[in-house]
Amino acid sequence: MSAVFVAGGDPDRRQPIEQADTGVELAGIGLPSPVLTASGCAAAGRELDAFFDITELGAIVTKSIMLKPRAGRATPRMSETPSGMLNSIGLQGPGIDAFIGNDLAWLNERGARTIVSIAGETVEEYGRLAAKLRSSGGFDAIEVNISCPNVADRGQVFACRAESAAQVVQTVRRSTDSRIPIFAKLSPDVTDIVEIADAVIRAGATGLSLINTLLGLVIDTTTMRPTLAGTTGGLSGPAIRPVALRCVWQVHHAFPTIPIIGMGGIRSGRDALEFLLAGATAVSVGTAVFHDPSAPSRIHTELAREVRARGFDRVQDVIGFAHRADDSDGPAPASAQHATPAPQETSSLEDWDFITE
């Protein structure tokens, strides 16, 4: 992958390149690649490091960590579906203390950029997780997994209600160093994802991760019962890619300056390009890792070629390019980013005093 990093300085030295400069700036963090892992599909990076150099990725997004050790759900936890899979793992993990002591320490030692995904059962729990991370340091951003049942709200998923989603994000923002970007990971299982995006942005989210899995069900026709022990599960993989892409498109259209990490069924550089064109600044590769453990590295290289093949020198320049005005077509302008005029802005961020803590 190292050949991809073309020096950006002297134009004369940028000889005929086959691959575009893959560097992007995500919420103020300079990343050598827009390709990240997806939470829950890369553990804490260690296993994938046997297949490619994880420090060459944009970042490792770690599996959602909770306050306490958690055994997860009973098996079966997984079922393959057409171009996808359904999972109900139940957030098995070692708890935040062991995570910080082992996994985060390893990632730091390894020199990998890290986005820590956190998950809680109550608003307060998210705050305590953020506070623990604030004490430990050693990571680049937080991804808030709000697709968890809210114990205080009869198990309703935080991400499905604007108010509870915003409460979580606000709490995490207040407990986090103001320099650390916070990405809220939204569920597509809502009537209007733009409404939820609006709420979490107002509550202090720096950016958005789009999308989490879709709730699904598979029935085993031999036992004539649901296949998964948890009955329902989260659908991921190429089957959900158009849904994910639509969400990225809608949210970027509504909030063109908000950085988006796009994900949902990406398994090639061309798939990743679609997400960047729709407005994502970075992409997470998830289920594809189960098919091909080298997928994040491969997709990085493919993306650099796909972007260059379309006449762009920099991956950064294709972000949001699909939103350009009808009359701005033509050969790859370098200044294509955010070609669309900003649409209606629903609120002024300055109204919210807790954003800059």
């Binding site: 890369a42 046997a50 055994a71 997860g72 079966p76 899979m85 999972n87 793992i89 890792v289 453990p293």
Partner: protein
């Protein structure tokens, strides 16, 4: 060292109800040990099957120009294995391996009993060879529902000090299950170690009988996997650690071989209440 490689199919042959595929696997075959497995991507790059399938390594060899090669046994059970069973010479597969924790091998020439259910006997071939090289006595027990579902009878006859066969329908060997004859075989062999691979109910019973007879046992489990490399947490089962605590551990990286007396067989497909991190354990720390 685990590797991901493009592998060429050298041969696809029928063995009873099963297929055996010979694959080029330079770098994988050389480092493979008994009990290791490989995963194979199904259906090509644009496949609608997103999950790899796991196969125990049945044989390894060095074949001149190909370098290391390995054999796997396939039981056709769905779309993926149907696709794989149709592969022919020169077809190319994407394989990852060697994966998992292998069987541990005794230092001395002790008496070993190998138990295979169905094509669970596949990984027993290189295990038997390794044990024979160490001067071990190797008794083998294999069983299946019918004669066609037995795997590798002739070869195992050559490898084993004694071979016992069982079938549910009595079409060959002793009518019944491998576990019906295991007590006798353990006593006759003066067994020190039992190695087993096969369906979970069989492993559960093998472990129970071995432990009762105070014979050390290792079982290679068949848990459904998604990634095979330890990142997805799909293939977990409750296992008691050396500290006495039960954890939900990944069979792909911490197994597939486990000590028979450490797996909580009756609690498979559940989260035992006293497992670390169980919902009502109170043992969360």
């Amino acid at each position: 060292m685990v590797q991901q490689i493009k592998s060429e199919v050298l041969d696809n042959r029928r063995v009873g109800d099963y297929h055996v595929l010979s694959l080029t696997a330079p770098g994988i075959a050389e480092s493979a040990q008994p009990g290791h497995f490989v995963t194979i991507a199904m259906g090509g790059e644009e496949s609608s099957m997103v999950l790899r399938r796991a196969f125990a390594i049945h044989q390894v060899a060095s074949r001149g120009v190909y370098g290391g090669t390995l054999d796997i046994a396939i039981s056709v059970a769905g779309t993926g294995t149907e696709w794989l069973a149709r592969k022919r010479r020169h077809d190319v597969l994407n394989i990852v391996g060697p994966l998992g924790q292998p069987f541990s091998l005794p230092k001395q020439g002790v008496s070993c009993v190998l138990v295979g259910g169905g094509y669970g006997s596949a990984p027993m071939f290189i295990l038997a060879q390794s044990l024979r090289e160490r001067g071990c006595r190797v008794d083998v027990v294999i069983g299946a529902s019918t004669e066609d579902r037995l795997f590798g009878v002739l070869e195992l006859k050559r490898l084993a000090s004694a071979l016992t066969i069982t079938t549910d329908d009595g079409s060959t060997g002793v009518r019944g299950k491998v576990t019906d004859v295991l007590n006798d075989v353990l006593q006759r062999a003066g067994a020190d170690v039992v190695y087993a691979c096969g369906p979970m109910p069989m492993l559960s019973e093998v472990a129970r009988i071995s432990t009762k007879q105070r014979v050390y046992s290792e079982c290679a489990v068949e848990e459904a996997m998604a990634c095979g490399i330890g990142v997805c947490m799909t293939c977990v089962l409750p296992v008691i650690g050396s500290d006495g605590a039960t954890r939900m551990v990944r069979s792909c990286v911490e197994g597939p071989v486990f000590r028979g007396d450490r797996v909580r067989w009756r609690d498979i497909n559940t989260i035992p209440a006293d497992a670390i991190g169980a919902p009502d354990s109170g043992g969360e720390s």
